[in-house]
Structures are given as C-alpha cells and as structure tokens.
C-alpha cells in the first residue's frame, strides 16, 4: 500500500510527539474491558511509522507503517473489522500475524484530528478469530468519537499555550545599555504568569526607558491565561502615555470589571529603567517578589499596594531606586517563592548562585526556573532578570517552555 504524505499523517506525527500517554490509557483500558480483548491500542499513523501511544497487551512505541493494520483503518470513515487476519491477503503476511503475538482478530475505529483527516485508530485485537455484533461496532465507534474529543481538547490547550508563549518578548529591546532575559514555565499548557518588556518614551521627555513587567493572575490554566492576556495588553496601552504608577492605576480601572466578574486578581510588578543612569521607577501591586541583588547583598523593591481586582479601591503610585552597574534586578513569581518556603531567608541563601558576574541574564533565569521546577514547583514559575551593561554586545533573550 503506497502512503502519499498527507495533512493527517503530518498531524499524527505531531500529536504522537506531544501526546501525554496517560490521558489516552483510560480509553484503551475501557476498550479492552468492554470487548474482552487481550490487546487494545491507540495507534497514530504517520508518514513512515505507526506510533502506539497508548496500549494494553502490546508494547508502546513505533513500527514501520507497512507492518500496520491501522494504516487501512485511517483510509476509511467507519470501523474496520477483520474476522481473521490470516485469511485476509492485505494482512496475512504482517509480522504481528505470522509471528508474535500472532494476532488473528482486528477491529479499529478511525480517529480524526483537527485537520479533519484521520490520524489514527483505536483498535482491539484478539488471538482467536471472532466477530463483533452491530451494537459492539457502534460502541467502538462511540469510544473513538470520545477519544477524538479528548484529542481536540488537548490540541486546543496546546495551541492556547503556544499563543501565550508567542506573546512573550523574544528579542532584545531596542535600547542601549541593558541586558535582559525572562522565562515562564507554566504548570499546565497555559497559565496566569507572564512577563513583558518594551521601550517607552518617557512622558517627561527624558528619552527612552525600558519597562519590565511581571504579572501573576490568580489560578492556573487557560482561564487564568485569558485574564493575563488582558492585563498585559491594557498595561501596555496605558504605559505609552504616562508614568508607571499612573499606568498601573489606569490598568486597574480598565480591567476592574473583568477581574471582578471572574473573581480573579492579579499581582503586578512594573519597573521603568533608564539604562544610562540606572534610575528605576517601580510599582509593586501586591507582588512583593522583586529585588536588587549583588554580591554585597539584596534589597527588596516592594510597596504596600493591593493587587488588581480587589473588592476595595486602592491607589498606586511609583517609588524609585537606582540600579547600580554591578547590580541585578531580579523579579520572580510566587511559584519560585513557594519552593523557598515563602521565606526571604531561604531566598537569600540561594543568592550566591545567581549574583556571579560571569553569568548572563539568560543563565540566571534558567538557574532560577530550573531550581524551582526541580524542587517540584506546583504553580507557574517565572523569572525576569535585568542588568545594565556598558558592553556594546549586550545580549538579550526570552523564552517560554511549555509543560514537560
């Protein structure tokens, strides 16, 4: 059977490489129990390989697509049932028929992907010939439809996570004298944490400044990420025209309805740095997790303001500090702080690992995020690190990593 490349097979490859197998194991368990078959599997049919992503009675893994029965199932839109594979010339010589486990009976229902094309099959196999009744064939098709739905939901979630990642800054800000890096590791596909940076023209005419933001919307997952996108966009909009204190206050007013209607709140830390002088204006809206650190020690950049979305009114005004040439601005989310037992003493004990001048900002955020993840952080984890630099080759980078 010649298998020309198709959208469906491309999609099967992509899903096979991202699918979290546990999600689909319950479907093969159900199929096995319902049909009393020794083997049940979800096979995705790619260009050259078939990927067994969930199975019982048969090993997970890959096999050449020529050796697969499901390659025939994906070419039709109804259940494929073969009473005895040995007596069907299409399958009689396949290795799994002539050799171990010597399967005889096959029934598979095609599973469609987002592309609308079939990407695989949910199938049951037996070691003796048998037939399904009409009702059993319908049940297999129903189970396949449920699995299709599960795949679609997972793909939607993955796409939402990708959209959120693509909204993070990835290139160096267009401003001299600063090195910056950030990273988000959401606990699920998408989450309520985000960071941002962009260049603003100072409203007082003092030239270009770099605005950096770390926001954390209460909760996790897709719902939190929707609110985070709104807070990010609204704060960007207001930040073009006014100082950081006023920008946060206006962002609060603009987002109040949506935060309250959803019973969500968002902590925010927003800083605006003049890389030439190190002057740093900032607002801390209930975030509390920003420090300036160096080998001499650290100081917190915190204020008493509430997060956005609280049931009582608050006002926000900026405070100021100066970022020295040998100092780091480090902002993290509570997912990092939680693994430090929410203790600044614990955090301080970890500082020597990041204030080494030989480390780039990229390396520092990686150290922070990987530390939190390796200590079993349960929340979204985010870190943002900024340093002034007189080097002309100031590097900068940002990245987001989806759930492993």
């Amino acid at each position: 059977m010649v298998m020309p490349p198709s959208t469906g097979r491309q999609e099967a490859e992509a899903v096979a490489h991202t699918a979290s197998a546990e999600r689909y194991d319950r479907f093969v368990r159900l199929a096995q129990a319902i049909f009393g078959a020794p083997i049940a599997a979800l096979n995705l049919v790619g260009n050259d390989q078939q990927f067994t992503v969930a199975s019982i009675g048969f090993p997970k893994g890959e096999m050449p697509v020529e050796d697969s029965v499901c390659r025939a199932t994906v070419q039709q839109d109804e259940v494929l049932e073969v009473r005895d594979l040995r007596e069907d010339e299409r399958f009689a010589t396949l290795p799994s028929v002539t050799g171990s486990p010597r399967v005889r009976f096959y029934a598979g229902t095609p599973v469609r992907g987002q592309s609308g094309q079939n990407i695989g099959s949910l199938c049951i196999l037996d070691l003796v010939p048998r037939t399904l009744g009409r009702q059993q064939r319908e049940m297999l098709a129903d189970l396949g439809a449920l699995l299709e739905r599960e795949l679609a939901v997972q793909e939607e979630m993955d796409l939402a996570g990708q959209v959120q990642q693509l909204m993070l800054p990835t290139s160096a800000p267009d401003i001299d004298g600063v090195e910056i890096a950030g990273r988000v590791q959401p606990a699920r596909e998408a989450g309520g944490d985000y960071y941002d940076w962009f260049v603003v023209n100072d409203p007082d005419g003092a030239g270009k400044q770099l605005q950096v933001v770390l926001g954390d919307v209460m909760g996790k997952g897709l719902a939190a990420s929707l609110i985070a996108s709104e807070v990010r966009a609204v704060l960007r909009g207001h930040s073009r025209y006014t100082d950081v204190g006023d920008a946060v206050a206006r962002a609060s007013t603009t987002t109040r309805h949506d935060l309250e209607a959803n019973n969500r709140f968002s902590t925010l830390w927003v800083g605006r740095l003049d890389p030439l002088t190190g002057a740093l204006d900032y607002v801390d809206a209930g975030h509390g997790l920003a420090i300036i650190a160096s080998q001499r020690g650290y100081r917190r950049l915190c204020q008493d303001y509430l997060p956005l979305g609280m049931p009582i009114e608050d006002s926000w005004a900026m405070a100021s500090d100066v970022l020295g040439e040998d100092e780091l601005l480090v902002v993290v989310s509570d997912g990092v702080f939680d693994v430090l037992d929410d203790s600044f003493d614990e955090a301080e004990a970890r500082l020597p690992a990041i204030v080494d001048p030989g480390l780039s900002c990229r390396q520092i955020v990686d150290r922070i995020v990987e530390f939190a993840v390796s200590h079993e952080a349960t929340d979204d984890v985010t870190a943002l690190v900024v340093r002034r630099t007189t080097r002309s080759d100031a590097a900068s980078s940002g990245s987001a990593s989806a759930t492993a």
């Binding site: 954390d216 996790k220 509430l306 939680d338």
Partner: protein, 110 residues
C-alpha cells in the same frame, strides 16, 4: 480537602485543613456563597490546620469576603500559620484580611 463547619448561631466557623489551593478552594468558596445566601454572612475561617495556601486559596478568601460584605456581614480569618501569614503579607492582602491570632479574637464586635 475536607473542612469542618460549626454554626455558632451568631457566626459560622469554617476550618479547612492541609493545602488550601486550586483543588481545595472552590468547594470552600461554594460553601461560603451558600451560607451567605442563607443569611449567614458572619464567617470565620479558622486556618490553624492549613499548612499551605496559594493564590487560588487567597482568591477564595477574598471572594468570600466580598460576598459576606455585600450582605452586610464579614469574613475574618484566624490562627493562620507561618506560610499563610507570609503570603498574606507578601501580597499586602493582610490589609483587607486581618489575620487574628484566635477564633475568639476574630469575633470582636459580633
């Protein structure tokens, strides 16, 4: 997570335990909303058995505070442990959710 609930007539004490997070917060918030809707808007959340709270837990407390106040009542918290106090202080939410040392102290004025 389970939570204890004791109706004292003038007020209701709710006592969650363990991790007060994304899993545990919605059931407690739903119960608070039901109590408030039934006219029991004076609530104390006894946190002595909570060893960890996250933003979802804080959200449930803030949401409960909001519904209680809208019905002319209040939601107060008592006996918070170290981690809970640290998170309340970090987020400045102790400004609107005063952590009382004991349930008795939280009852003042009721």
């Amino acid at each position: 997570m389970d939570f204890e609930e004791v109706d004292k007539g003038t007020h209701v004490v709710l006592a969650p335990e363990g991790k007060f997070n994304l899993v545990a917060a919605p059931p407690l918030k739903a119960r608070i909303d039901d109590l408030v809707a039934a006219g029991k808007a004076r609530l104390v959340v006894d946190l002595h058995a909570v060893d960890f709270i996250d933003s979802s837990g804080l959200g449930a407390l803030i949401g409960g505070l909001k519904s209680a106040r809208q019905q002319g009542g209040d939601l107060r918290i008592a006996a918070a442990g170290t981690q809970v106090r640290a998170v309340l202080k970090l987020t400045n939410l102790d400004r609107i959710l005063t952590p009382y040392d004991t349930v008795e102290e939280a009852l003042h004025g009721w």
